[in-house]
């Protein structure tokens, strides 16, 4: 590994000396999208939570915290982020090992690390640390990556993913695995290789089924294939959620008027299944608006990535944006019965969740990349 690596130096991309959009290191188009999305989230939450203002306040506090984290991270120039990447990754892996040895068990899985004054999930850090580490590693190699580089990247992905699967937390390990794969794809590995690996993956699926999955995970897949088989458990979720979405129709039943959600047929309606509440009350056109907001945010993220000035920032911005998209697809796919139940929230809309802070931290990095300019030192 290159010991005297040049991380370059990034400065403010300020156009003028006066106060401008960039003085706060905010990317205003992106910020607009995020604010719009979280506002929509609060409106649905008010309905799904039974018009409980306390719930709204708690969500506002969380959002405030998350936007605060985003703002702070946006102030950090990208060369610092790059320099810290391996350290954050290393610390994250150590903490994951810590979780497995001394972690706190909650709801049957060992995910929390208790530091006495507060508890947190190291797997959340890995959602950022894995893309950072891969971008850091690939940035000093030529692209498209060599076989050796690809192998090492695979290792960087496999170690944290393996540790998180052990907790067990399928949703998070899936996200982290995907973020790494996205970084590789964006780095330009050949499509033939992608095709070959996909086939290999498909061939390995039966192995995963028999040896790699917990009973409850297998149960979820079976339930997905036949929801009626488990009408009290996750099958019930899916049946009710499909009724909620379908009965919404083109225009929806109107805000606060969704019978499925208001009469409590729909479980987890403020958290994982909030999309169904939205679909029931705002209908198909509401969904189109919601998906447009998401597409806008994702397109802006990819635009920032494409404009980024070096390989590290490009790969980081790109893979973080695509990971955000995975949240969306997994959640909507689950709620609308296209994918098995994997407990991931609808990003920035679902109530609560530590993942909100992580997501906003990622957007903070995107903003930092967009609002700093690299001084060209060596190329």
């Amino acid at each position: 590994m290159n010991q005297n690596r040049d991380y370059g130096r990034w400065i403010d991309r300020r156009q003028s000396r006066g106060f401008s959009a960039r003085s706060l290191h905010m990317d205003w188009p992106l910020l607009l999208g995020l604010i719009l999305l979280s506002s929509v989230g609060l409106i649905v939450l008010y309905s799904s939570g039974g018009q409980d203002m306390n719930l709204i306040w708690r969500q506002c506090i969380r959002l405030g915290l998350a936007f605060g984290v985003m703002f702070v991270i946006a102030q950090i120039p990208p060369h610092h982020i790059e320099r810290w990447a391996p350290w954050i990754f290393g610390a994250g892996v150590l903490m994951l090992i810590g979780v497995l040895t001394v972690g706190t068990v909650g709801k049957g899985a060992q995910r929390w690390l208790d530091l006495g004054f507060f508890r947190f999930q190291p797997s959340e850090i890995m959602k950022l640390a894995v893309p950072m580490m891969i971008a850091w590693y690939l940035a000093e190699n030529t692209l498209p990556p060599s076989r050796r580089a690809m192998f090492i990247t695979a290792l960087i992905i496999a170690v944290p993913v393996g540790l998180i699967i052990k907790q067990p937390d399928l949703g998070t390990s899936l996200l982290i695995g995907m973020s790494g794969i996205f970084a590789l794809l964006l780095a330009g590995i050949s499509w033939r290789l992608v095709g070959g690996l996909s086939l290999l993956g498909a061939a390995c699926a039966p192995l995963l089924w028999f040896f790699g999955m917990h009973d409850y995970q297998r149960q979820r897949v079976l339930t997905f294939l036949n929801p009626e088989s488990d009408p009290l458990g996750s099958g019930y979720h899916i049946i009710q959620s499909k009724i909620a979405i379908g009965s919404g129709g083109l225009y929806g039943k109107g805000w606060l008027n969704g019978t499925q959600s208001q009469l409590e047929f729909l479980p987890e309606r403020s958290t994982d299944f909030i999309y169904a509440v939205f679909a029931e009350e705002f209908g198909f056109f509401g969904i189109l608006v919601l998906l447009t907001i998401y597409l806008y945010i994702i397109a802006r993220g990819l635009y920032i990535a494409a404009l980024a000035q070096d390989t590290f920032t490009r790969l980081l911005a790109g893979s973080l944006t695509l990971t955000f998209f995975v949240y969306l697809v997994v959640n909507i796919g689950m709620v609308s019965g296209m994918l098995p139940v994997v407990g991931l929230p609808l990003p920035l809309v679902s109530y609560g969740g530590t993942s909100m802070v992580t997501l906003m931290a990622a957007f903070g990095m995107l903003m930092s990349i967009q609002t700093h300019r690299k001084l060209n030192t060596s190329g």
Partner: protein, 615 residues
């Protein structure tokens, strides 16, 4: 470094990335189109179908709680059952004026401020169409009065459900335990779907230890509800699997006898069947009515229980730790025989006290004038202290520890309910580890008569006595006899550890010690000789009087001068019939005075009833 960067073509990499990013965006849009297609399928094509499902056929799935298993004593006496109780519930949205309704209800039946406060709290958290309980456990009369007035009060409902009931109330509360409402902590440890309809969970004793078996498996029913969420009819039903009935080893009658005998004093009785470790009696004074706990005990009652001097929540049989006093002598004597320190012929001259060389302190015998020439048998019969001072001094504490350990002193017995205390069987290693101090010879002497650091629970004493009665076959004391499976077969109790045998070099040593213990009852000078009522079986026993209060060298212990709480604990361990033991009993009476006069009659009553009933 430069060579690396020279190869790295930033512009080409940038172009490659941009092309990949565009591809990604295209794939994203494709996936979003797929999602939109799915939405069209659900919301446009399937709209009518799902609207029908959502409007006309509001099918909801309701969990149905399984019936909790019964708890029975060994003879089939019911210790815990389920009785229907009636609850007054109110559906908020059907009530025009809530305050008015509640005021009217208070005129019909008794409703406390606590009830109203709890109700108001729930009104805020629950949906307006859900019934919320206002008063629990209505009497038949109250139900009748409400039924008459019901037409005037829309929105009130009387719901019947099964509630746990303990017909024997206090009798075996420390063993059976009780159920109470599920709390936050328990909620995170149970399977939420299996407990979806269950409000209560075992909190103590057997109810807690065998929660899984007692609870059963939840059932569910598909019901059709109207637009307000009220059930119209049941469409489909998967019945719950009721909890399994549990038969305990306890004998309720015998338990009652033991409690009766303990009445007026403070203490505990444990009786075990030495053949299999079944606990026949586990009685502790200071008990309470478990029925109070089922729906949440109120503060007044709970504080009364908590602060009572009798410590009713404390199970002395399991959690109480007492010095065993002279009841340990048969075990120490056996250790001496087995280790070759003494023989059955060895004799010590007891002049009423014992001294260690170089120490002025007198280690007194309970009998001031001494027992004279004393051998092992006499030392047990008359409970001579000097004999054991001498024996312990020769053996040393560690050899005593080593021999007594397999009898279970100083260790949890592994009984199948929680909360057991450890007890202490001291050794030099123990004192260094726990107290951080070296062991002194004087401490060995008093350990030889079961004083000093040594502590046992009544259960441990009963277990050790049972092992002695068994001539070395160890047992695991337990409360579960069998579980009745759904197919009406029985699942018998299986101990965690297989029975082992304490092997002696000379098996006749067992008989030597047991002969001494028989003499305690049948000898002319036996310390429990009034137990000899010419029963058709022979009892072997040993009295004990454990000091609570240290007396100074030159003072005398005068019972009347000392406050009751500082008086000696009275103990008695025994088993019968001595040749083919069927029951082993340990009794402790706190501050009771002499073991022979206070504790022995209690054990006698239990043994006589148990064996008398059989022969």
């Amino acid at each position: 470094m430069y060579s690396r960067i020279a190869i790295k073509d930033q512009i080409r990499e940038g172009q490659l990335f941009t092309s990949r990013a565009i591809t990604a965006l295209a794939v994203i849009i494709l996936i979003l189109l797929a999602i939109i297609a799915r939405m069209v399928f659900l919301q446009v094509i399937g709209h009518e179908h799902y609207t029908t499902l959502s409007q006309n056929n509001r099918v909801s799935i309701q969990p149905v709680a399984p019936t909790r298993g019964l708890i029975l004593d060994r003879n089939g006496v019911v210790l815990a059952q389920n009785l229907p109780t009636y609850t007054l519930e109110i559906i908020a949205e059907q009530v025009k004026d809530m305050d008015q309704t509640i005021t009217e209800l208070t005129q019909i039946i008794n409703i406390s401020d606590d009830d109203i406060a709890r109700f108001n709290k729930q009104v805020k958290n629950k949906r307006r169409f859900q019934p919320i309980p206002l008063r629990l456990q209505l009497s038949e009369e109250e139900v009748a009065r409400l039924a008459v007035n019901r037409h005037r009060l829309p929105g009130i409902e009387i719901a019947a459900r099964l509630t746990r009931d303990y017909p024997q109330a206090n009798l075996a509360v420390h063993s059976v335990g009780y159920v109470s409402r599920i709390n936050e902590k328990e909620l995170s440890q149970i399977d939420p779907s299996n407990y979806a309809a269950t409000n209560h969970i075992g909190k103590q004793g057997i109810e807690k230890a065998y929660e899984q078996q007692l609870h059963g498996i939840v059932g569910f029913q598909k019901v059709e509800t109207n637009a307000l969420g009220r059930t119209l009819r049941v469409l489909e039903r998967t019945p719950p699997v009721p909890g399994q009935n549990i038969t305990l080893t306890l004998d309720a009658d015998l338990q009652r006898t033991a409690k009766q005998a303990l009445k007026g004093s403070t203490g505990a009785v444990v009786a075990i069947d030495p053949n299999n470790g079944e606990i026949l009696v586990m009685a502790s004074t200071g008990d309470y009515d478990p029925n109070l706990f089922i729906n949440g005990i109120d503060h007044k009652n709970y504080n009364a229980l908590r602060t009572s001097n009798a410590k009713p929540l404390f199970n002395r049989a399991l959690q109480g730790q007492y010095p065993p006093g002279s009841t340990i002598k048969p075990f120490v004597g056996l250790a001496g025989l087995e280790g070759g320190t003494i023989t059955t012929k060895s004799s010590v001259f007891c002049r009423g006290w014992h001294t260690i060389k170089g120490d002025e302190r007198k280690y007194r015998d309970w009998k001031k004038e001494g027992h004279g020439h004393t051998d092992l048998k006499k030392s047990i019969t008359e409970s001579c202290d000097v004999f054991y001072y001498d024996l312990a001094q020769t053996m040393g504490i560690d050899r005593i520890h080593e021999f007594l350990s397999p009898f279970g002193f100083g260790q949890k017995t592994g009984i199948d309910i929680a909360g057991e205390a450890n007890g202490i069987l001291p050794s030099t290693e123990w004192k260094r580890r726990v107290r951080g101090k070296p062991w002194y010879l004087g401490e060995t002497l008093i350990a030889g008569i079961g004083q000093g650091y040594t502590l046992t629970t009544p259960l441990q004493l009963a277990k050790a006595t049972a092992i002695l009665a068994n001539r070395g076959h160890t047992i695991q004391p337990h409360l579960l006899k069998q579980i009745t499976l759904p197919n009406s077969e029985y699942l018998q109790y299986q101990p965690d550890t297989a029975s082992t045998i304490i092997e002696l070099n000379k098996t006749s040593n067992w008989e030597e010690v047991i002969k001494g213990m028989e003499n305690v009852i049948y000898g002319a000078h036996g310390t429990a000789r009034h137990l000899n009522r010419r029963q058709p079986y022979r009892i072997a026993g040993k009295t004990g009087t454990a000091q609570v209060f240290g007396i100074k060298q030159d003072e005398e212990y005068v019972e009347e001068d000392i406050g009751k709480h500082l008086r000696d604990h009275a103990l008695f361990v025994s088993f019968a019939p001595s040749d083919k033991p069927q029951i082993a009993v340990a009794v402790i009476v706190e501050n009771g005075g002499h073991g022979g006069s206070v504790a022995a009659p209690i054990a006698g009553a239990v043994i006589d009833q148990y064996l008398g009933g059989r022969q």
